[in-house]
């Protein structure tokens, strides 16, 4: 394994706050929030990050890997600066998410799960994001865009290019 990772001082403080939400004898409850924190810190959850979380919780690292590999939100590999996830579940499919995805794929020149060569964008599909009345929807990093059309995709991309 590569060099062990450690949280920064600031992240350690946040980790302590997270752990405080659970009774002291159930530190493992914090594993998902701590993995979110790890992903914020390092962009993805590497085995070293899992080991770091396992040390904080005091459990066997494979028990953290069980969790980190289960949940789709945890990136196992490095991802682009912006992660774009097109909802492709039935209601969004009925309102045309297919063309949104195809448009994005063509504009970015990447397929499902891929990252652009410049490391700026990663393209994904997501299951229903519970905004089906406003479909098609696109999750860009932490922000949900609704009523997305190919034209709106262009606007979003331009904005991201600028930002």
């Amino acid at each position: 394994m590569a060099t062990p990772l450690e949280f920064t001082e600031a992240a350690r403080e946040r980790a302590a706050k997270i752990l405080d939400r659970y009774p002291a004898e159930y530190r493992k409850s914090a594993v998902v929030p701590l993995l979110h924190l790890a992903q914020e810190e390092w962009g993805h959850v590497s085995p070293e990050a899992m080991a770091c979380v396992a040390r904080l919780i005091g459990c066997s690292p494979v028990k953290v890997a069980e969790i980190a590999t289960f949940y789709p939100m945890f990136n196992r590999e490095p991802v682009g600066e912006h992660v774009l996830a097109v909802c492709h579940t039935l209601p969004c499919a009925l309102t045309g998410c297919g063309s949104v995805f195809d448009h994005l794929s063509e504009k970015l020149g990447i397929g499902l799960g891929e990252t652009t060569a410049d490391g700026r964008f990663t393209l994904r599909k997501s299951e229903c994001l519970a905004a089906c009345d406003r479909g098609p929807v696109l999750l860009v990093n932490r922000r949900l865009h609704t009523h997305v059309s190919p034209e709106k995709v262009d606007e979003i991309l331009t904005e991201l290019e600028k930002g």
């Binding site: 394994m1 066997s60 690292p61 494979v62 069980e66 289960f70 949940y71």
Partner: protein, 536 residues
Amino acid sequence: MATITIDEQQYTVEEGRNLIDAAADLGIDIPHFCYHPGLAPDGNCRMCLTEMEIRPGQFGIVTSCTIRIKDGMNFRFNSPAVLDNRKGIMEFLLINHPLDCPWCDQAGECKLQDHSFDHGRGHSRFVETKRVPPKKDLGPHITLYTTRCILCQRCTRFCDEITGTSELGVVQMGSKSEIATFEGVPLDNRMSANVADICPVGALVTKDFLYKPRIWHYDKVDTLCPGCATGCNTTLEVLHQKIYRTKPRHNEAVNGYWMCDEGRFCYHGWQDADRLQAPLKRVDGELRQVTWPDAMDAAVSGIQAVLAGEGDSAMGVVGSSMATNEENYLLRRLGAEAFGSPRTGLDRKPDGEAWTSKSGFHIDADKTPNTRGARDMLGAGSPEDILRGIGDGTIRGLYVLGGDIGRTLSSEETDAFSKLEFLVVHDVHRSDLAELADVVFPGAIPFEKNGTMTNAQGRVQRLSPAFPPPSGAREDGAILRYVGQRMGVDLGGTDPAGVLEEIAGNVDGYAGLTYDLIGDQGAMTGGEGPSEAAGG
């Protein structure tokens, strides 16, 4: 006790017992994969579903593995709903299974193979592409054939519940789920190889047993592990005078369903030892192979010479915690009746590292299996006592029941034994001790022994031979008898059961013990009855 109904027939079974186990007691097999009596039920495979009366007249599907027997329960084991489910589960488990039985080491003891024969569909309706995840090296002893895994999680539960080491987990999600270790943290604990025993399919295999002859060729021999004073119950798989595998044999009071890796694989050391092919006699300062009568003559005249010298008894005898109760007992008699109350010692190698698992499975620090029994038989003093006797010249001759391949001598011991006028040793190879002897009798290794041993808890258990000693060697009991005979002492018949009867009559704490009583689960000394102290 509880009365339950199974397919309209009434049975009396133990209240609170797991339904699968209770049915097995009655000779009824409820097919299952994920349930293992040594682990907490998990209910994930869904093979064991049966119907139970939930409300009067109304039956519902339940997981047998999570049912504890209560009086009045009413089951249907063979209803169409139950049989259909089994067929369905078999189909689901087989659609992604490689069906490589011809190459699989589990073939012949695979639950998937067995149940597919009994409950399967016969032809495949699956025309899609099978998943083929790669094989993984999990640790020093274990390989995972990932394609064969049915995700029953027995192995992960073992590492969580029994060893508490938690090296195994399930990674990924849904149909991509796989058993895995964490990078840099292999499946490496003192009991790791048990996972291969409990894996119901051929997914987890011990590297040791890869590509060995197919399992239906072996003779199975129930005996004990000689690896430590815990005395785990084992079954050896034997073919053509050779052990191919050791598996733990269930004994709730000793080892549960488990054994440690060291014990499991220790047969290699014994089997690979460079065994003595004939007795040895010191001639012109060198050990030479001689015939049995020649060695006997030498031993007897050597001992007689020592006894003829000064002092009460200048002979000492040293028993062996590698030897059975019967052998140690015969040694005591030989000493008492032929050597004139010699001083008695017990030879034992230095302690190893003890370990107790999360579930309470204990590996003893004493790396020999019968220290307690040998001591009971011999009433032995300490090894230092013997060394002191040699040092002050009160012991001039020694008769040692050796036979431990792991035994090396300290320089003190070497010095002391070198001072002896006469040294007779039973041994299995040219050990440090044998090198100092005047006569060496080639004896048997524990896997060749018939008799009983007493573990650290005081449980007397039976040892059965996997095969006889090599042609030039003899069982140690027979050697002792032969020596006795030559010295005018009759040590009795050759049957260990008979010796045990004598022991029961003469040794404190062993009263009433018989082969029958000991059976395949052992019996406690001191008439304490079966111990409740579970082994894990």
